[in-house]
């Protein structure tokens, strides 16, 4: 399974990368939306873990761009973010219906093991 982590905090991103590598998968890190598009084009990930709050264009802008390409329509996106789902309830439906967001994990309440389990459940090639 190839995971693309779109995460601006490089220390956190490295921790996720290590966990994914130890579980026998591969991971690529991107700090910004632009980097993430570049990496998506390069590796064609099985699943994307996305922080909504990015420097420069935010995660929503990334999702719009990602989903504007037909061959990236079906890549599952797991939001792993500091944005609380309750505070963003007005965009939750849009994100799920229009942008194929399969899960919304609130970062401070999500363990690494849980994140890994969610990524594997959506990203493992069937």
């Amino acid at each position: 399974m190839h995971v693309l982590f779109v995460e601006p905090d490089i220390n956190l991103a490295r921790a996720y990368e290590q966990a994914i590598l130890l579980a026998g998968h591969s991971a690529v890190l991107a700090r910004t939306a632009q980097e993430a598009l570049f990496e998506a084009d390069r590796i064609l990930p099985n699943v994307i873990a996305l922080e909504l709050q990015l420097p420069g264009p935010n995660g929503l802008a990334f999702l719009h761009e990602l989903r504007s390409y037909p061959d990236w329509q079906n890549i599952p996106v797991v939001l792993h973010t500091y944005a609380m789902p309750q505070a963003q309830a007005h965009i939750k439906n849009l994100l799920e219906a229009q942008f194929g967001v399969v899960s919304w994990l609130y970062k401070p309440q999500t363990s690494l093991a849980h994140l890994q389990m969610i990524l594997e459940s959506h990203g493992m090639p069937k």
């Binding site: 084009d41 264009p57 935010n58 719009h64 390409y69 944005a83 963003q88 849009l94």
Partner: protein, 233 residues
């Protein structure tokens, strides 16, 4: 073939083949134009920078016989980069693009291009509340499409009174006197008039209590647009 030059905002993008995209552009000079942008799918495409959303670009294109032109070059003039730093504003921005694309299906006019430019500029100014932008955008869209509500006379034809409370009758597009049950006051009506006359939402943002009034007007504005066919049901 003659090359045409225009300022343009991208309303929609669709893939075409391996590396090309069809762009729907809104221009003040030629209305809505569909052009084939060759090679823009490649990450390093020279055209890519000029065809981002939330920007105004100068484009050169050749008109095609079938209605599909070809993009020759593109240079970004203005990029409203603050919009994409805020999740709510990003969502609003995409929503306005989608609404403009829907609204201009039949009647492309230069006014719609200006409307979108000014709306982007307002969204880009993080001090202006999105409720103010929503009300201004809605009233301007109603004005441009000829669906402006009557903001001077009530449903009986009487001039609107400053000390009266009103409800709104969507069928006649006029206010109804509703002394005890009406939710709209003279201040709301003044705000709607100002939204129609002001050339930018910045003017509304300067009104004391304007943000709150606009927040209370959003449902009415959205219903008016729905009723007038400006928002997809």
């Amino acid at each position: 073939m003659k090359q045409l030059v225009a300022r343009a905002i991208v309303l929609n993008r669709t893939d075409y083949g391996e590396a090309d995209r069809i762009l729907t552009l809104l221009t003040p000079e030629f209305g809505k134009v569909n052009v084939l942008a060759k090679g823009v799918r490649r990450v390093k495409s020279k055209l890519a920078g000029g065809i981002e959303l939330f920007s105004v670009s100068q484009v050169t294109f050749i008109k095609g016989r079938s209605g599909l032109g070809t993009l020759v070059s593109s240079r970004r003039e203005v990029y409203y980069g603050n919009i994409v730093t805020d999740i709510d504003r990003t969502m609003k921005g995409y929503d306005y693009i989608k609404r403009l694309n829907f609204m201009t299906e039949d009647v492309p006019e230069a006014g719609y291009f200006e409307l979108l430019c000014i709306t982007f500029a307002a969204l880009n100014d993080l001090t202006i509340a999105t409720s103010v932008i929503e009300v201004w955008f809605g009233m301007q869209a109603l004005r441009l499409s000829g669906h402006e509500p009557d903001l001077h006379r009530d449903s009986t034809g009487e001039p609107l009174k400053p000390n009266m409370q009103y409800a709104f009758d969507i069928d006649t597009m006029r206010f109804l006197q509703a002394e005890n049950t009406g939710t709209f006051s003279a201040n709301h009506i003044k705000m709607l008039r100002l939204s129609t006359q002001a050339t930018t939402p910045h003017v509304l943002a300067k009104v004391q209590g304007g943000t709150q009034l606009c927040a209370q007007l959003i449902t009415l504005i959205q219903n008016l647009q729905r009723h007038s066919g400006l928002i997809k049901l």
